[in-house]
């Protein structure tokens, strides 16, 4: 299992559009990807659930990735967070 934490810098947080792009970025991987903020954890593939988290700019989230391709997945997703969120 791989995990990393990240503090959101995108001023609108993970809202509709960023959430949509994020889900698309995660979809190709086989691994289970989860995002945690506070006590709430959701599947990164579920757009509605992700938006329901209401992640805002300045929030710190933890992303965990577990599965066959977790190494490449973790690398790509972490890169995605840094570049887009």
């Amino acid at each position: 299992m791989k995990s990393f934490t990240y503090t959101i810098t995108d001023p609108v947080g993970i809202h509709a559009r960023p959430a949509g792009i994020l889900v698309k970025a995660v979809k190709p991987f086989q691994s289970t990807c989860k995002i945690t903020k506070g006590e709430k954890t959701v599947d990164l593939r579920k757009l509605m659930a992700l938006m329901g988290m209401g992640i805002k700019c300045g929030d710190t989230v933890e992303v965990t990735i577990e599965g066959a391709d977790e190494d490449t997945a973790a690398e790509t997703i972490e890169k995605f967070f840094k570049e887009n969120l």
Binding site: A16, L47, M48, G54
Partner: protein, 634 residues
Amino acid sequence: MDYRKCAQEIYDLVGKRENLISAAHCATRLRLVTADNSKVNIKKLEDVDGVKGVFSSNGQLQIILGTGTVNKVYDEFLSISGMTAATKADVKAAAAKKQPLPFRMVKALGDVFVPILPAIVAAGLIMGLLEGMTKIWPDMANSGTYQIFHLFSNAAFVFLPILVAVSAARVFGGNIFLGAVIGMIMVHTDLVNAWSVAGMLEAGQQIPQADVWFGLYKINLTGYQGHVIPVIIAVWFMSFIEKRLHKIVPEMIDLFVTPLVTVLVTGYLTLTIFGPVFAQLEEWVLIGVQWVITIPWGIGAAIAGAIYPLTVVCGIHHMYNTVEIGMISNTGLNTWMPIASSANFAQGGACFAVALKTKDKKFKSMALPSSFSAFLGITEPAIFGVNLRLMKPLICGMIGGAVGAAVGSMFGIGATAYGVTGLFGFLITTKFVWQYAIMLAVSFAVSFTLSWITHKDKPREEDAEAEAPAETAAEEPALPSITCEKGKVYAPIKGNVIPSANIPDETFAAGVLGEGVGIEPELGVVYAPFDGEISSTTDTKHAIGISSPDGMELLIHVGVNTVAMEGDGFELFCAEGDTVKAGQKLMTFSIDKIKAAGYSTTTAVLITNSDDYAGLEIKEGACNPLDCVITIKE
């Protein structure tokens, strides 16, 4: 601090009465619903002496005042604004003050009973059916299922004092939980069940007693199962001293001193004075009734038939079983049962007439099942819910009951058992089938006819009150309710439908968030596009996620880039986790403000899990709310 001044300043700053829709309070906050939140001066509100904070959430303005303060400011706020709070007695009492005392008491009784009617109707119908069925199939009483159903049927009656107490506390403006405690004290399991008392006396058992008031006298430690009046008196008293104490006790210690003193004083007085006095009165009534029915030529029966419903009001009718047991063991014929049956059936008839005649749908929906319950012999719903409140049907029912009882007495009808009346009464009057039928028919005919003639719908003030806020939403016509079909999305907004690929935003157009349609809105109101659950909302209020029970997930994103407006111009009427029906208003938004901010108003309506489906069929062009705009192909 000066509560009145604080309330007055809040009242002025929220835009006075015309901007207020409703007011309520919780432990620390005054919660106001305003017609237009923009008219509220939040900055100045925060400066009001006593206000610890202000914020607005889900269309509700919340003003933090703190424990012990908020309720006092709230009371002042109600009196300044002249608003009616459904749960506050003071305002209602003010309106009712002009009426004579007996009318006010009857009204209070009705106000207490109406909210708990569903519970009693359910219990009453189950009880009536169950008792009837065991008379047909006596073996059923031994089955486990019967025993379980029997619990359901009498739970509401056994614990009636708790239901009554909670409701009464609301009506009289006391704390409902303290009210519940008073009710629980009265049916506490350590007290002897009121319904077992007669049996225990017969068996020669001692009723446990307790010394009270320093040995001044003794009371029987019996409960008040099925009672109504003593409970209402107790809770009325409780509310009275609770409100008094709130005024006298310093705020700092109010939270523990007031409930403590209230429960101690009320509980003690209830078990030592209100209860026993009432129990004594009940006993005298019972003796009186037994004497009355010895008057010959049907006169005694007629009197008993007339006053029977009044004893139901007092909750004494449960004690008639002792009379009936006595009759059966002496003569083998229970001649009390036809009297009770006529009285019950007549109340049902009077209630039935009101149910048929009234045009008030809500009232009708309550009166109809209440009358059915009465025909099965359980009259509480009909008496408390309908007849007593209107008074005339009660009297019509009493007359019908008197005539019916007289007829029954002249036929010499007697039952061979006890416990059921009304239609099921046939089962225990098998020797008098046609006489019993005539008796019921007479009771019904008299009370129904009288009630039908005398009943007139009154214009109800509460209805006028309820309609007022609806007018403010006049520009948003109410939508007809629709039945949702699986896999269909109904237009949430009135406007022009375009394919999602044409939405002027590359993310939406590319289908990153899913496939669907764009709507160019004509009117800034979003309705639920199907029955489902709100799965997400945002602080910026411009987007709503909703999911259907069969797994369809839909995003309604109003405008493009409107997240940057940070909620200005948007108003939400739902919250995450809410269950909504198609056509329910979810959000309003200002088309002008979006345009002024330089954004497109085109609203994305996207099925975010469209990958799960084979495809979508969309209907382009002008749409009205709830036109079908997307159909899913599985």
